[in-house]
């Protein structure tokens, strides 16, 4: 116990430069006496870090190294330089892929926000039991196999599918609409998948709004519409923003749904990357596209984190 007191006396900010001291880092270090002060100091600074090693090793070997390797290929193959990036922006077919990616991402975000908002709102409005049922539906659709849901849309939207047949039977259309293997299919299928990712954060934001604020608004003479647009909606903004941003980021990187429901005309970046690798063995161009996608994703995610300052690790430090 004496050692522990001693170690506690060491100022936490002092430099730890004991050679090889990190190897001694262990969770149980505080029970040992302190024959070498510096080693213990390092041990204290790195207490428990040893437990990180297995996962860190795994991740470095199978995730980080391949990822860095991939990014390097973008500037090394076929010849060193920025040729791949030049191609990506100069070639009109490739530029179109970029445009498609953003257009679909934006459209999907907009639609899932429009559909997610009323759902999240009603979940906060109705009695708890009903709200729980609605939330279960949202969670069910979120956790149901992605491929199963995409297959379902493929069947539903096809020319002889239920939707076309119903619309024709009702006399709304007299020829089947082309809703699959084109932009419409991608947007329907992806918006469907993204709605839960809007509803969950938005509902959390709405549930945290103090009803008294809205009451105050109406007491002060705001009409319901004014109250909605000038009080309620601004208070929902954090949820709308983080949900929307998350969905936008996820949409940019989605592969399965666009690949199955989309057509050759509206390829997006992820499909483009796979195509370059599998069909054309053009690793350089694929890697450049991948680097671009990662850069956009991380930049947007950084903005997302800025909007949500809470980190699960930071809040655990106080013990």
């Amino acid at each position: 116990m004496a050692g522990q007191v001693k170690m506690a006396a060491i100022p936490p900010g002092s430099p730890a430069n004991a050679g090889g001291g990190a190897a001694r880092a262990s969770a149980g270090s505080d029970s040992k006496a302190a024959p070498m002060k510096r080693d213990n100091q390092t041990a204290l600074r790195w207490r428990g870090a040893r437990n990180l090693i297995p996962a860190l090793l795994f991740l470095s070997l199978f995730f980080l190294a391949p990822l860095i390797g991939l990014l390097l290929r973008g500037v090394l193959e076929p010849t060193p330089g920025l040729g791949n990036y030049e191609q990506l922006f100069a070639n009109s077919a490739y530029a179109r892929v970029l445009f498609n990616t953003f257009a679909v991402g934006g459209l999907v975000t907009l639609i899932s926000l429009l559909l997610g908002f009323p759902l999240a709102w009603v979940i906060t409005l109705v009695p708890r039991g009903w709200g729980r049922w609605l939330l279960s539906i949202v969670l069910l659709s979120m956790w149901t196999s992605l491929l199963a849901r995409t297959y379902s849309w493929l069947v539903l939207l096809q020319a002889t599918g239920v939707i076309n047949k119903t619309l024709m039977a009702l006399g709304i259309i007299d020829q089947p609409l082309e809703m699959v293997h084109n932009l419409t299919g991608v947007v329907i299928g992806m918006s469907y998948i993204m709605i839960p990712f809007i509803v969950l954060p938005l509902q959390a934001t709405m549930a945290a709004i103090d009803p008294m604020v809205l009451q105050a608004g109406s007491i002060c003479g705001a009409s319901p519409w004014t109250n909605f647009f000038r009080v309620f909606l601004p208070l929902c903004r954090p949820g709308l923003f983080s949900g929307g941003l998350m969905v936008f980021v996820m949409s940019l990187g989605y592969y399965v749904t666009p690949a199955l429901l989309g057509g050759a005309q509206n390829m997006m970046l992820p499909e483009f990357i796979v195509q370059q690798v599998q069909s054309f063995l053009n690793w350089g161009l694929a890697s450049a596209a991948a680097a671009l996608l990662i850069a956009i994703t991380l930049a947007l995610f950084y903005v997302y984190l800025k909007l949500q300052p809470e980190s699960p690790v930071a809040s655990s430090t106080a013990r």
Binding site: W143, L147, V274
Partner: protein
């Protein structure tokens, strides 16, 4: 006031509820539809089906290709779960209990696979295994799945570990238990719901994984989603509806288990 349904005005309220009902139906529609279709008798996926049958299930279960794929899926998912928990457990301990610089950074690092688009992870890992000559092996499947399952496991174990009061473990040590005994007999039972939730997430992520699996697959080894994927590109046979229903069924089952766990320990999942 607009936020209380009673004061909202009848027409607005009905409008809002109808819209929500339609959106909820929209969320449920494809799921119910596919389950019903898997029992429908029409080869051409006509709805409503002319009759009900189990013949597509028969075809699924008597076809060696589909059965092999389902079995491979199960094997990969179980191995992924075991590895993800084995790697995630010490990591969560380090991130919650450890006192070392850069924990924020490490946390971000371990959740990075959740953020980087799957396609990019798939292509990168594929390139690695191509070089090593491991494509199409069980090893490549499990490794790639663990990469994306690990963040889920780590997060749910972190959550339950943060809820656990370490002074209880310390009390056990003071009462004479070794640290290892205390962790095994006191801490692990207490955080079991979080570990279970982490394991379930890992299982589900692996069970449903398409993108990585399609890149890793070989003619001799493919998981259920891969088999579905390749079949889908040829035709829309109702057998895929059967496979989908099985995927949905297992997801629902796992979700129910998670819900039960959550009820027992409200903040663990």
């Amino acid at each position: 006031m607009l936020l209380s349904p009673n004061a909202m005005g009848l027409r607005l309220r009905i409008g809002l509820y109808l819209t929500t009902g339609a959106i909820a139906a929209f969320l449920l529609l494809p799921i119910l539809f596919i389950v019903l279709l898997s029992f429908g008798s029409s080869q051409w996926l006509v709805f409503p089906p002319p009759g009900w049958t189990l013949k597509w299930y028969g075809q699924f279960f008597s076809n060696a290709d589909w059965m092999d794929a389902a079995l491979a899926s199960l094997k990969v998912a179980v191995l992924t779960t075991v590895c993800a928990v084995a790697l995630g457990l010490p990591t969560a301990f380090a991130l919650v209990r450890g006192k070392f610089p850069g924990r924020e950074f490490f946390y971000a690092l371990f959740t990075l696979p959740m953020i980087v688009p799957l396609v990019i992870i798939a292509v990168a890992v594929y390139a690695l295994f191509l070089k090593l000559g491991y494509t199409g092996t069980l090893f490549s499947f499990v490794v790639s799945h663990v990469i994306v399952a690990l963040p889920f496991t780590i997060i749910s174990i972190i959550n339950s570990l943060k809820l656990f009061d370490q002074s209880i473990e310390d009390a056990a040590v003071i009462c004479g238990a070794s640290r290892l005994q205390a962790v095994m007999k006191v801490t692990f039972p207490a955080i079991r719901p979080g570990m279970m939730a982490g394991a379930l997430f890992a299982f589900l992520v692996s069970w449903d994984e398409v993108v990585l699996s399609v890149m890793m697959a070989s003619p001799t080894l493919q998981t259920l989603p891969v088999k579905m994927w390749t079949t889908l590109r040829q035709d829309l046979t109702p057998v895929i509806a059967v496979a989908s229903t099985l995927l949905i069924g297992l997801s629902v089952l796992v979700m129910l288990i998670a819900a039960v766990l959550r009820r027992r320990n409200p903040a663990s999942a």
